[in-house]
């Protein structure tokens, strides 16, 4: 997030796009509603009637995968009506002129046709977003999990840049990150192209720095992302997969392909439970959970916070860092750490954003990076005064329909998401009795008109088929989804991700297009 979570409560306009905030980030959802209670106006763009619809001033029920058309059209209105921040554009951005040409094409009428909304609502949303300096954008996987996910984020960045809604209190572009430490895992360089602190693995100076710090020669070839590694495993090029705290058999697209890959490679799984993935492993290592170890997580607002040991791990389970350090030692690389804090202190020496953060400082309250020195208070808002890179890059992006669509054989759009009661692949939440009472089984949301046309009643079992496979699942008939859209929460194994596409990826960041899958639907005889 460019800004902080607490600032959401004081925003005057909130544009929530592709984020089912009250279910995926419930406490941030509560903050959005607190702001609305205080008079903030909420714009919601989503493909389903999410709970925030009831709080929205403007609700744009867009066809899945059409965010770029919507956002470009909002910018079109802003430029057409002179609502942009000309000073900010002139002083703090680059690429504007070329951009204007592309934006001209995206009239509200054109976008309305693509997105399936009223052009007047697009105009209203654009005017509302520019009506106050305290306008904030919140987005989540409904924006990113598309083949053009990166470009959709760019379009949101364009929207903020042309209005100068950046670098101020209660404004900015705020991705809400789904998992407790997904921000930290990225910060720590658990990415194939980056070391800690987003330092590129193919930059000679960076390589030199890490070779010195770690005392070994390093490989400067960018590595494989999860979907790519899975393909290489299936093809037999990746021979060993070491998976810790992940359950790709549920979370990754195209379960059939994932299963083939996991069966082919030698798989090491390190986890709390015998997950669907662990069941296919060659070695399973028992890990300690968050309550059984000391350390840090970094939340979605870049705040590094302490995790403290409360109980002992069960049986012979060990903290992940202890297991990894032992493997390093046995492979002949000395990894001498007596505590997570020892590792953190090493992280500080190679990660400028974390350099000023110490366990002692974290004892009282978490600190937001960048925090370069021990007397630095941490950074609440990014891009204050001007964008961090000097000039904010405005880059034109175009809407393209997903190749999953347009087929007569698979005429419906399947979209996926989270529900309030479960977390990711249910590894933890499936063990909670009360959760299983409230959310006991998988289901598919089907619009009443579609259900009627197919003779499907609420509670019927239906068959859903995509180019990858088919599943049977219980129907939930609801007008939360549009007539040609169906929704399945991705939490359950052998569910939504049997159907999704693992082959096609976003060309920049390699994210799969999980939010748009072409499917067909039949009532089970």
């Amino acid at each position: 997030m460019t800004n902080s979570i607490a600032e959401i409560s004081d925003a005057e306009v909130i544009f929530a796009v592709g984020s089912n905030t009250t279910e995926s980030h419930p406490v941030i959802g509560a903050r959005v509603r607190q702001a609305v209670r205080k008079g903030a106006k909420l714009i919601v763009a989503d493909s389903r009637d999410i709970p925030l619809k009831r709080d929205a001033e403007i609700y744009l029920k867009i066809k899945p995968g059409t965010n770029i058309a919507l956002i470009n059209a909002m910018i079109n209105v802003i430029l057409e009506e002179g609502l942009e921040d000309k000073e900010y554009i002139k002083n703090n951005t680059e690429g504007y002129d070329e951009f204007v040409e592309v934006i001209k094409k995206y009239t509200p009428e054109k976008a309305a046709e693509i997105c399936g909304v009223d052009p007047e609502d697009i105009r209203k949303a654009a005017r509302l977003y520019t009506s106050t300096p305290k306008a904030t954008i919140l987005y989540c996987m409904g924006v990113t999990q598309h083949l053009n996910g990166t470009e959709t984020v760019i379009s949101l960045s364009n929207l903020a840049l042309v209005t100068g809604n950046l670098g101020r209190e209660s404004s900015g572009i705020n991705p809400l990150r789904g998992q407790n430490n997904v921000q930290g895992a990225c910060d720590m360089g658990a990415l194939p192209n980056l070391f800690t602190g987003y330092q590129p693995v193919n930059n000679p100076e960076v390589i030199q720095k890490f070779e010195k710090a770690w005392g070994v020669k390093l490989n400067n070839k960018v590595g494989l992302t999860v979907p790519e590694a899975m393909h290489k495993a299936e093809q037999g090029e990746v021979k060993v997969l070491y998976i810790f705290g992940e359950n790709p058999m549920v979370s990754d697209p195209d379960t059939g392909h994932v299963e083939k890959a996991l069966k082919k490679a030698f798989v090491i799984v390190q986890d709390l439970f015998l997950t669907e993935t662990a069941e296919l492993a060659d070695v399973v290592l028992p890990a300690a959970c968050f309550a059984e170890k000391d350390g840090t997580f970094t939340n979605t607002e870049r705040r590094v916070q302490r995790v403290r040991k409360a109980v002992e791990p069960p049986g012979e389970a060990k903290a992940d860092w202890e297991i990894i350090a032992e493997i390093m030692n046995r492979l002949g690389y000395e990894a001498k750490y007596n505590s997570a804090e020892d590792i953190f202190n090493e992280i500080r020496t190679v990660t400028p954003q974390y350099a000023g953060i110490t366990y002692k400082r974290l004892d009282k309250e978490g600190i937001q990076w960048p925090c370069p020195t021990e007397d630095h208070p941490g950074t609440k808002i990014l891009h204050v005064g001007k964008p961090t890179r000097g000039k904010g890059l405005i880059k034109p992006v175009e809407y393209e329909e997903s190749p999953e669509l347009g087929s007569e054989e698979y005429p419906l759009i399947l979209t996926t998401g989270r529900i309030l009661y479960h977390y990711h692949t249910r590894t933890m939440t499936a063990r909670i009795e009360g959760i299983n009472k409230l959310a006991p089984e998988n289901y598919i949301e089907i619009n009443p008109k579609l259900a009627a046309a197919k003779g499907i009643k609420d509670g019927d079992m239906v068959k859903v088929t995509s180019r990858r496979g088919e599943i049977t699942i219980k129907a939930r008939v609801t007008d939360r989804v549009a007539e040609n859209v169906v929704f399945i929460p991705f939490h359950w194994g052998y569910g939504a991700n049997v159907l999704t596409n693992g082959e096609l990826l976003d060309k920049y960041c390699k994210i799969p297009g999980l939010k748009v899958t072409g499917v067909r639907l039949e009532k089970l005889a």
Binding site: N180, K217, G223, P248, F290, F297, K309, L420
Partner: protein, 348 residues
């Protein structure tokens, strides 16, 4: 700035500060049953009364704004008497079952009755007995213990913004329930448990699987392990088991939690947890020693690297694990194996 005296101490606070807040800055604790800075002044009947020189009444410290030259006394015999009387009246409609009440030790009413030596009720019971609503899987509502302070209603309406709980009037009393007295399970309740966390007495209680007393527990401040909000919370531990979770006033969560953070901690101690390493032998995963598991892993990594090169090995790190662990996994792959094939589920 406003200058005043509280219990003989000079205090200087900004205009608009309440007596309660001013006392807090001076380190003086004015007792209250229900005060929560997020919700504003306490109810009219709360015990946060004080004496202000020149006034004949006992104003509420949580709703009275400081004035220049004010002289406040917080614990005079007269103030104590008023507090005792308030507590006595509340007790008239509250069961005296502290021996078995699970809230014992964490109950504000019990704490204040102990402090002011209030043992008996003043007056007769006027609230009618009502059934417990235990339709929610995570918490129950016992209207017989409710003191109608309204904190739960306020938290639900103003902070969670769900408006599930309301006051339902029956005769001279107000009872807390979803509108029209419907059961919680039939309401829009999302089980966030924020009402449970603020209840000062034993009226809204978690359905605990463990038998424990709050004084037997040790709170450990930590970060929730569910979504990316990073809520701060205290896990309460008894005998190496988490028995309850309380929200903390973290910068992101401001004292709120959701259903997962508040109630879904039972996986920690679940019998399905992996307790020993497993290695596949003759097609089946079998329990082995760590020594054997490490041997298998390390020899496989060595062999593969030698035979097919470092890029034939890939690791998926974890968005659920610590920063320290993600760093170490990246270091293992880059510095020890020699590949950049390291990623995690950020995209999934």
């Amino acid at each position: 700035m406003i200058n005043l005296k509280i219990d003989g101490r000079d205090v200087c606070v900004p205009e608009g500060t309440t007596i309660l807040e001013a006392a807090e800055t001076a380190g003086i604790n004015i007792p209250t049953l229900t005060y929560d800075p997020r919700l504003g002044p306490c109810g009219d009947w709360d015990v946060c009364v004080v004496e202000v020189e020149g006034r004949l009444d006992f104003p509420k410290a949580s709703s009275t704004v400081v004035e220049e030259g004010m002289v406040v006394r917080t614990e005079t015999p007269a103030v104590v008497n008023v507090r005792k009387a308030i507590l006595g009246r509340i007790l008239a409609n509250h069961p005296l079952d502290c021996l078995t009440c699970p809230k014992s030790g964490a109950c504000k009413l019990q704490e204040l009755c102990f402090k002011y030596d209030v043992k008996e009720a003043t007056g007769v019971k006027t609230r009618e007995e009502r059934p417990i609503d235990d339709t929610n899987p995570f918490y129950y509502s016992d209207p017989n213990k409710c003191i109608s302070c309204g904190k739960c209603v306020e938290v639900c309406a103003k902070l969670q913004c769900a408006k599930v709980l309301s006051f339902v009037e029956k005769g001279p009393h107000k009872y807390v329930s979803p509108p029209f007295g419907t059961a919680i399970a039939q309401s829009e309740c999302v089980s966030c448990g924020n009402c449970v966390s603020v209840c000062p007495v034993g009226a809204l209680m978690p359905k605990s699987k463990e038998v424990f007393r709050y004084w037997e527990t040790e709170p450990v401040r930590t970060t929730c392990s569910y979504c990316g909000v990073g809520c701060q919370m205290d896990v309460l531990v008894k005998d190496n088991k988490i028995v309850d979770v309380r929200p903390a006033d973290g910068p992101a969560n401001g004292g709120l939690l959701c259903v997962k953070g508040k109630f879904a901690y039972g996986f920690v101690n679940h019998p399905d947890r992996l307790k020993k390493p497993l290695v596949r032998k003759n097609g089946k995963l079998e329990e082995v020693t760590w020594e054997e598991a490490f041997d298998v892993v390390v020899s496989k990594l060595k062999e593969t690297k030698e035979q097919y090169g470092p890029d034939s090995i890939a690791a998926f790190s974890s968005a659920r694990a610590l920063n320290e662990e993600n760093y170490l996994m990246a270091k293992l792959m880059r510095a020890v194996i020699g590949t950049n094939n390291i990623d995690h589920c950020a995209r999934l």
